[in-house]
Amino acid sequence: MGLSASKQPPAKLSIWLKVLLIALVVVLNGYAIIAMYANGEFAFALLTLVIVASGVYVFTSKKTYAHRYIFPGIAGMVVFIIFPLVYTIGISFTNYSATNLLTFNQVLQQFESKTYTDDSGAFKFGLYQRGEDFEIIVEQGELLYSTGPIELDSQSAVSIAHELSVLNAKPSEKPLAIKAVIQNKDALDKLILVTPNEQELVRKGLREFAGIKPLFTPLLQDGQSSYSLPNGETITSEFAKLNVKDGRILIPNMETGYFQYLDDQGELTGRGLKPGFTVGVGWEHFKRVLTDEGIKQPFVQIFVWTVIFATCAVVFTLAIGMLLACLVQWEELKGRAIYRVLLILPYAVPAFISILVFKGLFNQNFGEINMILGNLFGISPAWFTDPVLAKSMILIVNTWLGYPYMMILCMGMLKSIPDDLYEASAMDGAGPITNFFNITVPLLMKPLAPLLIASFAFNFNNFVLIDLLTGGLPDIIGASTPAGETDLLVSYTYRIAFQGDGGNNYGLASAIATLIFLVVGALALLNLRIMKKNAN
């Protein structure tokens, strides 16, 4: 079988169109790749390069005709599943977080563009009314400059630069009073006045404009290769900066990802200046997970609960689902079709809606479940604040959500069990319970095994349930990151990364995610093995 991979010779015009299209793709993406590479975004440049190059190859080579059919789908998986996985593992070895978000080059640029106002070269200024507009005239000794009539816009989001021109004589009238300056303070603060010799001035005080100068200059001047400190040590970093204002030396600390000042002894001082930049930290996060008590203790606790939850989820849903499947397949039972539809109902309702419905029903103060329990037994369990009750609630809701899936699976598989097995056992006088445990369960387990592992993996990572129902609460006491009693590893990771109060520690979150990848990968391989074995 299989069709030959030949193709009719295309018309000439379409060949040219194809060549043109491919050339366009190559040029556009080539430009984008170089731009990304120049920005230091190697991962994205590499991803684009791989996808575009393999795409062009697949769609031009005759040998890869079959691959043209799978290329778009596989490319989608590579970009949106495999690349994020690899990128996440990469992040786990860095200090990427809310405080160290930018690349080194971006932070360096921020420091290089920092300025300060230089008091020495201050210009006195006067504000003059010119109809609707204003004119600003600045003077310093012999120098006298004017902006000409300009509009003052205090709403502008960015600084507005104005060229100054040389003025021969001051206007005869008096400038506006200080009151007018105060009224227009916001607008004046947006102005940058540029003198004919390219000096930039900003407002400083109510009477003066002063020149702005870069706050940091390179420590090593042209041709210099090192700078000697008073204590005899030398600095060779080309990124070392001199703070012009106070003469301190600023150097990047490549281990913590911050620029830091040197003290008199030539030692790094302080916690470093914000913003920090992203640097590699090696196995730091993994070590913290294993040794730091504030992380290790909740991590182990959450890991254990995750395994318990996933196991219970599979066992409960399977037990109920299998039993119900046997009952609705029982031909003696009337109204089976109606039962079947009603039993599938929890599966048909979108999960995000039913989970939120349960969140409301279980609410401690006004939820209907506590209302009924209160009327019947006079109790009002704290479903969301007591760890044990919260965990039970999660298992109840998950069983409600998940048993129809197991029921559907078992219903399909029950049909393949031959009837004469049950007849033979009935001859021997076995009842339905004996039949269920001695015939049905053992025969279903084998084909179910890979699906049960998939279900375990799904529940191991059942983020939506936890996120919508409890959000991981109640909190574990003594944890140094956001961590809750009902958190699964996956929601714990999510909270470390995206919940503001944890400092958005993407590096640590990625490290834990990497550990989960190992677990999931092992489950996936096991699954594949069992499926292969079943197929043989």
């Binding site: 059919y69 998986m77 599943i81 009952l327 109902l345 979108p350 809606i353 609410n363 998939a454």
Partner: protein, 296 residues
């Protein structure tokens, strides 16, 4: 069925019916409850399980109408539910069509052609679909931030970007469709090939028309999958008017002000169509589900 029937079968049937009814009552209770709550006055459940003086206020708010109280005060709708519903349908519809197109072409090659790396790719797809995207959200966020720099309508907080993100999850659908293609006799396409049809023509003119049922199943599964997806949508979409239902519904549960009644009406309004579609199609969907997919 067994030829030998014990006498106790009558009682057993009775017990089963009884057990079923009790179990179903427990199972259906939350769903009936939420319908009742959507007609109850106010957002706090104090009082009756079955609303004594039913009101349509929550439903008015859910479909975007103001509610005027007896004392003249006007309550505007808290959230644009219909807009969210439309966003969900739009994103899920477009994503499901693209998913069907991508996975069908993939499945065709996997079912009918011989090429290098086929077995590896198939196994690899099965393995990688088990990795939850929640764990890679930091990377996905960074990825779409970057894409947005070059193609703004595919960046963060856009529906284009969200649709694009869903196109990675086609592995299970490829397997489902591939399984179906393998049940179709290849002789038809082979005879077409003898008559001079290219593989593409054989695929489009012969195989595709024969596979409409499975394509419909995959479309519905993909559609429901996208509508109910939470983590990706909640990280990629931040603007309230761009949210999908699955993200927006959570806003009703602000700890300071839980809009329980309003949520109930919005939930019934938006959940009902999806539930009905699923129940009507369930017979056909089951085959697709048992191919290895797991839904919450």
């Amino acid at each position: 069925m067994p030829m030998v029937q014990p006498k106790s079968i009558k009682y057993r049937k009775l017990a089963t019916h009884l057990g079923m009814i009790v179990f179903l009552a427990l199972i259906i209770f939350p769903l009936l409850m939420v319908i009742a709550i959507s007609f109850r006055t106010g957002n706090f459940a104090v009082g009756d399980i079955i609303p004594s003086n039913p009101t349509l206020d929550h439903w008015r708010l859910a479909i975007g109408m103001d509610v005027v109280a007896a004392d003249g005060s006007v309550t505007p709708p808290p959230f644009p539910v219909l807009l969210w519903l439309w966003n969900s349908i739009k994103v899920a519809g477009i994503a499901a069509i693209l998913i069907v197109v991508l996975s069908t072409t993939c499945a065709y090659a996997f079912a009918r052609m011989k090429f290098r790396g086929k077995a590896t790719l198939l196994n690899g797809m099965l393995i990688f679909q088990m990795f939850p995207s929640v764990l890679a959200l930091v990377a996905i966020y960074a990825l779409f931030n970057k894409i947005g720099d070059y193609v703004p309508w595919l960046g963060l907080n856009t529906h284009g970007g969200l649709i694009l993100a869903y196109l990675g999850g086609i592995a299970l659908h490829v397997w489902t469709i591939k399984g179906y293609f393998e049940t179709i006799d290849p002789a038809l396409e082979e005879s077409a090939a003898i008559d001079g049809a290219s593989p593409w023509q054989a695929f489009r003119l012969i195989l595709l028309p024969l596979s409409v049922p499975i394509l419909a199943v995959v479309f519905i599964l993909a559609f429901i999958g996208v509508v109910t997806e939470v983590p990706m949508a909640s990280v990629l979409i931040s603007d309230i008017n761009n949210m999908t239902l699955a993200v927006g519904s959570q806003l009703y549960f602000n700890p300071q002000n839980i809009l329980w009644g309003d949520f109930a009406a919005a939930a019934v309004l938006s959940g009902f169509p999806i539930t009905v579609v699923f129940l009507m199609a369930q017979r056909y969907l089951v085959s697709g589900l048992t191919a290895g997919g797991v839904k919450g």
